[in-house]
C-alpha cells in the first residue's frame, strides 16, 4: 500500500531524484490510469490506518518552514515546479555525474536512498561521508544561512542512518552551493526530539485532512506552490483587514497558443519542436517550450509522437469542428489531487450544497448580463434596455429565496430571455447584422454563429482551467451530468459568458472586424468561413489576454488567469478553506 502512494504522489519526486527517471515515471503515470484510483483508495484508508505510509525526509523539513507546503506536496501530490526547484534538481544531477571525489582522504557515497521503519521516514541523503566517523551531508542551493528546518532535515537523515547502520552519528553537515561553504550541525538531544515532534506533526496534518493556513509573507516569494496556494488572496478573503497585502503572483508566463485551421495540415514533432506542414510546405516550425495550448480545428492530422510529448509537458490540445462544436481535449493523466475530487463528489451528493453553488453561478451570469446592458445603456439610453435591466435586477433579488434547482433554472431562463430580447439593440444600426432570437444547432444567422463559436472557445479554456485545478469536469452543480458534457466547466463558464463572449461578439460586429463576407450560408444554417474563423480566433485570444483589474484584490491580471483563479477558489470552498464561492463580477 505504501508503495502505491509513492507512485501516485509527490513522494516519488523525493524518492527518485534523477531527472530522466522522473520523466519516465511521469509518463508511466499518464498511461496507467488506475494509479490515481489506487491513490484515491489509499487516501480514504489513510484516515483509519496509516501504518505503511512513509513521509519523505525533505517534506519533514518543510513542515517547519511552511506546513501548507507540506500538505500540498504530500497530501495533494502537488508537483509544481519553478526555476528554483528545477535548479536544485539540476545541481543534484550534475553532482551525481561527477566521478571525482571532492575531498581527499574521505570516502564518499552519493545519493543514498534510506528509510526508517521506526520513524516512518524515507529519503535520499545527498552524500554520506566517512573518515573516522560517518555523517550525512545535505546540499542546499542557496548561500550560507542558519536555518532550523535544514538542521532538522540533516538530523532526520542521521537518525535514519543510525537505525540502518547501527552506529552513532554525532554531527552532520549542510553544504551551501552558492557560497561553497559547509556548516556543521551538532545532533544533540533537543534537535532529535524536535525531529520526532515534527514527524508526528506531519502525520497529524495527514490524518486531520485540514489544510494549514497560508503563511502569506516573505516566504511565499519564489515558492513554486504559490499559484495553487494563493496565500495572499486566501488570507484576504478570510480576514478582510489584510486586504492591502494582496499582491499578484510575480511573472507567471502567458505561453503561446497555436491554432491550426488548415484542412489537410499535418502537425508533427521534430526534435523538440512542433512542425506543421501541408503537402510539402512548412507552415510553422516552432520550439515546444512555452507553448501553452494547441487548438486544432477541422481536419488536421496530429502525430502520435507529438501527442505523447505534449501530454508529457502538460500542453493542452483542443479539438474543435469547423462549425464550432467543441469535441474535447487531450488530457494528461488525472490530477493527483484526489482529496479535491472526493470533496467535489460529496458536495454533488448533497442537494443543498449543489443549490448553494448553482445559485452563485447563476448570480454571476445574471449580474454580468446586467452589467453588460448597463454599460451599453450609458450611451444608448434605450427604453427597452432599461426595462430589461430592471427586470434582471428584480430577479436577482429573488435568488436568495430559491429552494430548488428547478426554480433557479426558471429564473435563469426568464432573465436570459429578457437579455436576448434586447440584444439586438446593442448591435449598431450601421452594421448589416440583426439578432432576433438565440438559436443553435445549427445557428440560423451570423450573430448566433458567432455566439456559438465563442461559447465553444470559452468551453475549451474553462475546461482546461477546471482540469488544471484537479476537478472532475463531468460532475457539475448547476448542469446535471446527464449528457456526458463537461458539466463543471459549463457551470463555471456561466459567469464569463456575457463578459467574455457576448461583449466580444458585439465588439467585432460593431467595429466591423467581422463583416458579411466572413460567413457562409448553407441550407442547414450559417457558419463562419475560413477568414471569419481566423479573425475570430485572434479577437478571442486578444480578449483572453486582456488585462483587467480584479474587483476584490485590485491587481491587474489577464482573463485567462481569472478563469483559473475562479476554479481555484471553488476548490478552496469545496475543501472547506473558504466559506462561500464568489462569482467574478465586473464593474
Amino acid at each position: 500500500m505504501g508503495s502505491l502512494l509513492f507512485v501516485g504522489s509527490k513522494l516519488s519526486f523525493y524518492y527518485f531524484h534523477n531527472l530522466e527517471y522522473i520523466e519516465k515515471l511521469r509518463w508511466k503515470g499518464l498511461m496507467v490510469g488506475y494509479v490515481n484510483y489506487e491513490v484515491l483508495i489509499v487516501m480514504e484508508m489513510l484516515k483509519t490506518n496509516n501504518e505503511h505510509i512513509y513521509l519523505p525526509i525533505s517534506a519533514i523539513a518543510e513542515i517547519l518552514y511552511c506546513p501548507r507546503n507540506f500538505y500540498y506536496r504530500v497530501v495533494e501530490g502537488a508537483q509544481d515546479l519553478n526555476a528554483h526547484v528545477l535548479e536544485g534538481r539540476l545541481q543534484e544531477d550534475r553532482r551525481n555525474e561527477r566521478t571525482r571525489v571532492a575531498r581527499e582522504g574521505y570516502s564518499q557515497v552519493r545519493s543514498v536512498m534510506i528509510s526508517s521503519e521506526k520513524l516512518r521516514l524515507i529519503g535520499v541523503v545527498d552524500v554520506v561521508e566517512e573518515d573516522s566517523e560517518i555523517y550525512p551531508v545535505e546540499y542546499k542551493k542557496g548561500s550560507l544561512k542558519e536555518s532550523l528546518s535544514d538542521d532538522v532535515q540533516v538530523c532526520a537523515q542521521a537518525m535514519v542512518l543510525e537505525e540502518k547502520l547501527g552506529r552513532d552519528i554525532n554531527r552532520g553537515y549542510i553544504y551551501y552551493v552558492q557560497s561553497r561553504t559547509r556548516r556543521e550541525v551538532v545532533l544533540d538531544e533537543s534537535l532529535r526530539s524536535l525531529v520526532e515532534k515534527t514527524v508526528n506533526r506531519g502525520f497529524e496534518i495527514i490524518n486531520s485532512g485540514e489544510i494549514p493556513t497560508p503563511a502569506a509573507d516573505a516566504r511565499c516569494e519564489g515558492c513554486a506552490l504559490a499559484r495553487r496556494c494563493l496565500p495572499f488572496e486566501v488570507s484576504c478573503l478570510v480576514d478582510e483587514s489584510r486586504k492591502k497585502t494582496v499582491r499578484p503572483i510575480p511573472c507567471f508566463n502567458q505561453g503561446r497558443v497555436l491554432y491550426v485551421d488548415e484542412p489537410g495540415a499535418y502537425v508533427r514533432k521534430k526534435g523538440e519542436r512542433i512542425w506543421v506542414t501541408k503537402e510539402k510546405d512548412t507552415l510553422i516550425d516552432m520550439p515546444l517550450c512555452n507553448l501553452e495550448q494547441v487548438v486544432l480545428s477541422g481536419t488536421v492530422n496530429i502525430s502520435a509522437q507529438l501527442i505523447k510529448i505534449l501530454l508529457e509537458r502538460g500542453t493542452e490540445v483542443h479539438f474543435l469542428s469547423r462549425g464550432g462544436k467543441y469535441y474535447g481535449c487531450l488530457q494528461p493523466s488525472l490530477s493527483k489531487n484526489s482529496v479535491l475530487r472526493i470533496a467535489q463528489h460529496k458536495a454533488f451528493q448533497s442537494n443543498s450544497q449543489c443549490l448553494k453553488y448553482a445559485r452563485e453561478f447563476v448570480r454571476g451570469k445574471l449580474t454580468n448580463m446586467r452589467t453588460l446592458l448597463v454599460r451599453h445603456n450609458r450611451t444608448q439610453k434605450d427604453k427597452n434596455l432599461l426595462l430589461a435591466i430592471t427586470k434582471i435586477k428584480s430577479m436577482l433579488k429573488k435568488l436568495d429565496d430559491i429552494t430548488s434547482l428547478n426554480s433557479l433554472l426558471g429564473i435563469e431562463g426568464i432573465c436570459s430571455k429578457e437579455y436576448f430580447k434586447v440584444f439586438n439593440c446593442l448591435i449598431k444600426d450601421t452594421v448589416p447584422f440583426n439578432f432576433n432570437k438565440r438559436n443553435r444547432r445549427p445557428p440560423e444567422d451570423p450573430v448566433n454563429a458567432l455566439l456559438g463559436y465563442g461559447y465553444s472557445l470559452l468551453t475549451k479554456d474553462i475546461s482546461s482551467a477546471v482540469q488544471v485545478v484537479g476537478f472532475d469536469p463531468y460532475i457539475g452543480f448547476l448542469h446535471r451530468s446527464n449528457y456526458g458534457r463537461p458539466a463543471l466547466a459549463l457551470d463555471l463558464m456561466e459567469e464569463f459568458r456575457p463578459i467574455i463572449v457576448d461583449s466580444l461578439v458585439l465588439k467585432v460586429l460593431n467595429k466591423g472586424v467581422i463583416n458579411k463576407d466572413d460567413f457562409e450560408c448553407q441550407v442547414t444554417g450559417t457558419f463562419l468561413n475560413d477568414s471569419g474563423r481566423k479573425k475570430f480566433y485572434r479577437a478571442y485570444e486578444e480578449r483572453r489576454h486582456e488585462m483587467i483589474t480584479h474587483p476584490i484584490f485590485n491587481y491587474n491580471l489577464p482573463y485567462l488567469r481569472i478563469f483559473e483563479l475562479q476554479a481555484r477558489f471553488l476548490a478552496k470552498v469545496l475543501q472547506g478553506e473558504l466559506y462561500e464561492y464568489k462569482p467574478f463580477l465586473v464593474r
Binding site: A83, V276, I284, P287
Partner: protein
C-alpha cells in the same frame, strides 16, 4: 520571459551539429552561429544544463546575452535574417 541572444563557437563539426540541433529546440537561428530566443527561467536552466553536457569546456564557447525589454525594442534587423517567435498567438 527573458530575451536572449545566444552565440556559439565550436571547433568540432560533429559536436557543433549536435549543439545546433539542441539550440533549435529552444531558439531560432537568426544568422550563422547566432540564435535568438524568448525563454522562461525554467527553459533557460534546462537549455543551459543540456548545453553544458554537450560542449567541451576547454575548446568550445557559448555565450548567452540577455536583453532587457527596453533594449529589445532597439534591435535593428537589416536584410535577410530570422526572427525569434514572440508571445501571443499563431494562427495557421
Amino acid at each position: 520571459m527573458k530575451h536572449y541572444i545566444i552565440t556559439y563557437d565550436i571547433s568540432d563539426d560533429k559536436r557543433r551539429n549536435k549543439i545546433y540541433k539542441l539550440l533549435r529546440d529552444y531558439a531560432v537561428p537568426v544568422q550563422y552561429s547566432v540564435f535568438e530566443a524568448r525563454l522562461k527561467d525554467e527553459d533557460y536552466l534546462l537549455l543551459r544544463y543540456k548545453l553544458e553536457r554537450l560542449m567541451k569546456r576547454d575548446t568550445d564557447s557559448i555565450i548567452f546575452y540577455r536583453q532587457c525589454i527596453r533594449c529589445q525594442k532597439d534591435i535593428l534587423r537589416l536584410g535577410r535574417s530570422g526572427e525569434p517567435f514572440g508571445d501571443g498567438i499563431f494562427i495557421l
